[in-house]
Every structure is written in C-alpha cells, then in structure tokens.
C-alpha cells in the first residue's frame, strides 16, 4: 500500500452518516411518548443500508427525524453526523442547504408525494433552483431533460410539461428519483420506494436505484418492510422493532445466521415458492402500540425463546464481529434453519 493510499484510508472509513442514540418522542398531555428509542446506525460512502421493520416500528420516523423532517410536535435527541457535521439541533436554514442537494429522498407513494398542481418539469426545476441561484431557466430545463433521460422517461421534452396525474405509478416514482438525484447527492434515502407499485414495476425501480447508485457513487438507505428487497440490494441491514435496532449485520450474515428471534421470525415469514401447500407463516401477536412497550425486551410477548430475564431486563447489544444483536440469548439461540424455524415457531406460538 502506498503512502498516499494510506492517508486516504481513514477518511474513507469515516461513515457518511453516523446516528447515535437517536430518540424521537411526541409530547402529549400525559408526558412524552417515545417512538424511536435510541437508534445507532452507520452508513458508509457508497454503501447500501437496509432498514427493516413493520409499519409503526419507527424506521421511517427515525430517518425523517435524523434529517430534521419530523412533525413539529416531535422531540428529537441524540446525535446525527452527516459528513462529520452534527444535524440534530441544527437550524432549519442550515438543514435546507443539505436537503435536496447532498441528501435526496424518495417516498412510498409517488402520486401523493408529487404536487398535483405543478408540472413535473417545474417540480424538478425547483430543486435545481433552490440550490443554485445562478442557474438560468434554459440551463435548468436542459438539466431536467438530462435527468428524465437518466431515469429512462421516454419523450422527456413532452413529459416535462405534464402533471403527475398524467404519469403511471412507475413513471411517477422515476420522477421522484430524478428530483432526488438532481443535485448529485451523496446520500439517497428511499422510504419504501416500491411498496405502492406493481410487482413488475418494483423490480424496474430497484434496478434503477442500484444502477444510479453505481453511476453516481451515492450511498443508499433503503427503508422497507420487505426483507426480499433488502436481501437483493443492501450491503448491511438494520432490523428495527419497537423503536430500537434489534439486529444489525452484513446482509449475508443476517440471512445466514440471524441472531435475534424477531429477525428469525421475519425471515421465516417470507413466502417460499418451493414450499407448496404449506401454510404461510407469520409472527404471532402484534407489535406494541406507541408508548406501550413491554418491560424488559420489547419483543418478549411474541418471542418463543423468552425466559424470565426477558420480561424484566432490557437486553444488552452483543457484538459478534460486525454482527450485533440485542437479545439475551443471541449467543445461545438454536442453530438457524429456516425450514424448521417456521415449524418450531408455529408449534410454540
């Protein structure tokens, strides 16, 4: 290794986004209800982090709060460093210079995420003008056409003057992507980017995101409830339950050797094409309501491995190399076998 390469190495190791002990609460008449209860996450430059969890687990909320986009009555604490700048507690004005330029976002439903009374072209132009005051109208239009071409929208010069309702679901999501990458961001946060789309379109959008990631060298945060999406596209995965990260690992390690019963349940509930006739598995019970978290481990009422300690004591996070799990029995769970897991959980649950 040359000297030059060695000096670059530490900088490259510094994560692009580092989240530590992020908490998001909502103040109500009877105190603050925590929806995100201390989340740690790292996203490396050019990496893909999948954040998996059921709806209401706090996975979307944690990322919105990290970027200062939470609802006004939300209270955020902890630290979020983007390229070594602390974001929590930053003034809105400073956040605005990052959002839409160095950090792009796309959301679940592209129809409701686009402004219905503005043309698609105007909406993309807006994000360009917001971050480049010297841009000319002509220059912006040329850039919009490039972007539409980049996300493979045909007849861009005609489409630019159309409204969102004149686009199909997949095309709308492409518009959202074009808008999110308009200013060459370093980080793209995709919140359930394919959930509202047809299955065939889902694959196209995911392929496009991956291609753009390679082409533009951006880091990607993929928030989803779909482990299948994560398996195919993420480098690392964080599993979120009841506002906490319960397990985090390289994607291969997570699927090969899940160390948290919740993750095991999630993987077991992925439908398999080969298992014809068998009943589709689902984790028994339901996730806790906001603020009504069980004592000890939040997952224990639904866990087949739960012991007394799980009902009283919150589990510590155990690390096995780059693999972390917040379970009292992370090192003692039975060997992982996906086929048996469903059966076992089915019997006991």
């Amino acid at each position: 290794m040359t000297a030059a390469a060695m000096t670059i190495a530490p900088a490259a190791a510094e994560p692009l986004l580092r989240v530590r002990d992020l908490k998001v609460g909502f103040s109500t008449g009877s105190g603050t209800l925590l929806a995100v209860r201390g989340i740690d996450l790292d996203v490396s430059r050019g990496g893909v982090l999948g954040i998996v969890g059921e709806s209401g687990s706090g996975k979307s909320l944690s990322m919105l709060a990290a970027l200062g986009l939470q609802a006004r009555n939300a209270v955020v604490s902890g630290s979020v460093h983007f390229d070594s700048q602390q974001l929590v507690g930053r003034q809105r004005k400073h956040m605005r210079s990052l959002l839409g330029s160095r950090i792009g976002m796309i959301f679940q439903d592209p129809l409701s995420s686009l402004n219905p009374v503005m043309t698609v072209g105007d909406q993309i132009r807006e994000v360009l003008f917001l971050h480049d005051r010297r841009l000319t109208g002509k220059g912006a239009t040329a850039r919009v056409l490039d972007l539409l071409e980049l996300v493979a929208i045909p007849q861009a010069d005609r489409r630019i003057n159309q409204y969102p309702h004149e686009f199909s679901g997949g095309m709308r999501q492409r518009v959202m992507i074009a808008m999110a990458i308009a200013n060459d961001p370093e980080l793209l946060v995709a919140d359930e980017p394919t959930t509202a789309l047809d299955v065939t379109v889902q694959a196209q959008i995911m392929r496009m995101l991956r291609e753009l990631k390679e082409k533009l060298g951006l880091a990607l945060i993929l928030i989803t409830h779909d482990l299948g999406v994560v398996a195919g596209h993420a480098d690392r995965v964080a599993v979120v339950y009841a506002g906490q990260v319960v397990e985090e690992a390289e994607v291969h390690d997570l699927f090969a050797d899940p160390r948290h019963p919740y993750t095991r349940g999630l993987i077991a509930s992925i439908p398999k094409l080969t298992a014809t006739g068998s009943k589709l598995y689902s984790i028994p019970g339901a996730p806790p309501r906001l603020g009504a978290y069980p004592e000890g481990c939040a997952f224990h009422p639904r866990c087949i491995h739960a012991q007394d300690i799980c009902r009283t004591t919150a589990p510590p996070t155990m690390a096995f190399g780059g693999h972390r799990s917040a379970c009292h029995f992370a090192d003692r769970l039975p060997p992982w076998d996906r086929g048996n897991e469903a059966e076992r959980q089915g019997q006991n649950g």
Binding site: L69, K93, F107, S112, V117, L130, H165
Partner: protein, 337 residues
C-alpha cells in the same frame, strides 16, 4: 373546457328569465298595494285619479299581460320606471351600482387579504396563541353586527379622533368629478383632482374595512380548514426534503392546492355583497344599490324591486362563471377533462 364555458354562457339568459319570472310573481303575492306609492293618500278616494294612475302604470292589465310587456321591454334594456324616483330603473341602477361595486371591491381586497393571511397563519400555527387570536379576530368580524361595528368605528376614528371622514363618498364642500366610471376614486383621478381623490379614498376606508372584516371570517375559516388538510399531505414533506423554505412550502406548494375552495368562497362572497352590503351602505350613507333596494322595498316600488333582483341575480351568474373559469387555471385536472 371552452365548450363547457360556452354551454354555461348559453344557459345564462334562461336562468335569468327564471329569476325575472320568480321576482315578478313574488310582487303579485305581496299584500301591499303599489298604488300607495304612486297616489297620495288623499287622492286614493278619487276613483278617477286612481283609474288614471292604474292606466298610466299598466296596473289595470292582467298579470300575464304585464309579464309579457315587462319581459319584452327587458330585452331592449328597459326595466320600467320607478314609482318613487319616476326615472327609468335601469338608469337608477346604473347610477348606484358603481358605488356599491367600489365599496365591495375595496372590501373584498381587504377581506380576502386578511382572511387568507389569517387562515394561513392559523393553520400553520395550529392550536397556538396565534391560531386562537386569528380565530377570535375572525369570529368577532363575522358575529358583531355591522350597524354596531360601523357606528363604533365612525365614532372612534371620525367623531373622536378626526382621523377619517364621516359618512358619504365625498366631502360636501368638494365638487364631485364628472361621472365617467361611477367609481369615485377613479373619477377623481381622471378629473385630475388629487385633493378629491384623497378625500374619496379616505371616505372609502371605514366602510370597506367594516364590510371586509365581516367577510374575512368566513374566508379565513375556509383557508384554515383546507390548509390543515393540505399541510398533512406527503408532497409537503417532499417540498421540505428538497430544501424548500417554509414560506415557499406554504405559498407555492400548499396555497396553490387550496385555490379551488378559496376561489369558490371569494366568488360567492363577492356576489353576495353586491346586495348584501345594504347595512354598511345604510350606516355610512353610501348611495349604493343596497340602499336603493331598501327604499324600493319600503315603498312597494315593484319595477325597482324586480330590477335590483335581476341585477343581483346577474351578479351571481357572472361571478359563478368567472369562478368556473378561474378553476381551470387553479386545477390542471379540470383543464384537461
């Protein structure tokens, strides 16, 4: 779309005919005798004079006859002659309508600006002190009677502090400008009389403030309710995620999405005020169409009553059509379908 507007425009005369017919029939079921407006009480006992008056005003003819004659005249722009002023109703209205329009336009400018701004503020700072204050202000405007509010403001600003002039459109000591548009503010300007212009403008302030305040309430309520809903929508989050500032989020992204309901209430309010400004006109001695209608109604001046009804109805029709056209620009989905 053009097709739709054309169809609406074609339908307008028929709706107008309906209004005329209804207004005409309503006058026949009133208990009062219009002759009392024409013939003095003493002469009522003189059958010759009564018969002459009846013949002179066409009251001796049957109802269908009168109706046909009226409509035939109306087509040529003739609305009959007022029993009271003894002038053509159309000329009376033409003389008074601009005064009302001037007042209503000024009131709408004040009322819609404050109403929209208050509604936006109340929605943006929902449930805060700002919201409560804005709502109280609106509630006050729409619940306090105009005759009280008008008199109170007149007392404070005109009588007590002499900051603003009293009732009327122009100081009696000033010579009114030749009536070109009928709008005092415009006519004084056209006449090149800055002193009169300033006086006309000052005269306009209090009545339009009172009238504007009363409509600001309903406008701000509509704006607030619609904004609350729109601000929860996902494209607002998208706008923020693009790095847009809050002013841009509210005015460029949210407000544009509530233009249709806002235009609806603005259009309706404007049309309503044309005849609904009567109390303000009464308090401020404003020679508009509202006070004309009151005089007409009190003296059973049927031609004038029907005339005012037609003008009021026409104002509604025109405003409705204009609102419909405005929708097209406010909502791209209407434009295409």
């Amino acid at each position: 779309m053009l097709n739709y507007i054309m169809r609406r425009a074609v339908a307008m005369p028929f709706i107008l005919l309906g209004i005329v017919t209804l207004a005409f029939l309503l006058t026949t079921i009133t208990k009062g005798d219009p002759l009392t407006a024409i013939v003095s009480e003493r002469q009522m006992n003189n059958p010759e004079i009564v018969a002459a008056a009846k013949a002179r005003w066409g009251l001796d003819r049957s109802l269908p006859e009168r109706y046909v004659i009226y409509v035939a005249n109306l087509v040529t722009g003739d609305m009959g002659t007022s029993f009271v002023t003894r002038r053509p109703v159309s000329r009376d209205i033409a003389a008074r309508l601009p005064a009302t329009l001037e007042l209503v336009i000024a009131a709408m400018a004040i009322g819609s600006t404050t109403g929209i701004l208050l509604g936006l503020l109340a929605a943006y700072y929902r449930d805060s002190v700002i919201d409560q204050t804005a709502r109280l202000f609106s509630l006050f405007g729409s619940s306090v009677p105009i005759f009280w509010l008008g008199l109170a403001l007149l007392f404070v600003f005109s009588v007590h502090y002499h900051l603003l002039p009293g009732p009327g459109r122009l100081d009696a000591r000033l010579t009114p400008p030749p009536s070109l548009t009928g709008f005092m503010v415009v006519d004084t300007l056209l006449a090149g009389n800055p002193a009169a212009f300033k006086d006309a403008l000052l005269h306009l302030i209090l009545p339009s403030l009172v009238l504007g305040w009363t409509v600001a309430g309903s406008i701000s309520r509509i704006v607030r309710a619609n904004m609350l809903e729109i601000m929860e929508r996902e494209f607002i989050l998208t706008a923020r995620a693009k790095g847009a500032g809050e002013l841009r989020v509210v005015f460029r992204h949210a407000l544009r999405n509530i233009l249709v309901p806002v235009l609806t209430v603005l259009g309706y309010t404007f049309a309503y005020l044309i005849t609904g400004a009567v109390l303000t006109e009464a308090v401020f001695g404003w020679p508009g169409i509202g006070s004309y209608a009151v005089i007409a109604a009190r003296s059973l001046d049927f031609p004038a009553i029907i005339g005012v009804t037609i003008v009021g109805g026409m104002m509604f029709l025109i405003t409705n059509l204009l609102t419909d056209i405005a929708y097209v620009f406010a909502n791209p989905r209407v434009r295409l379908n």
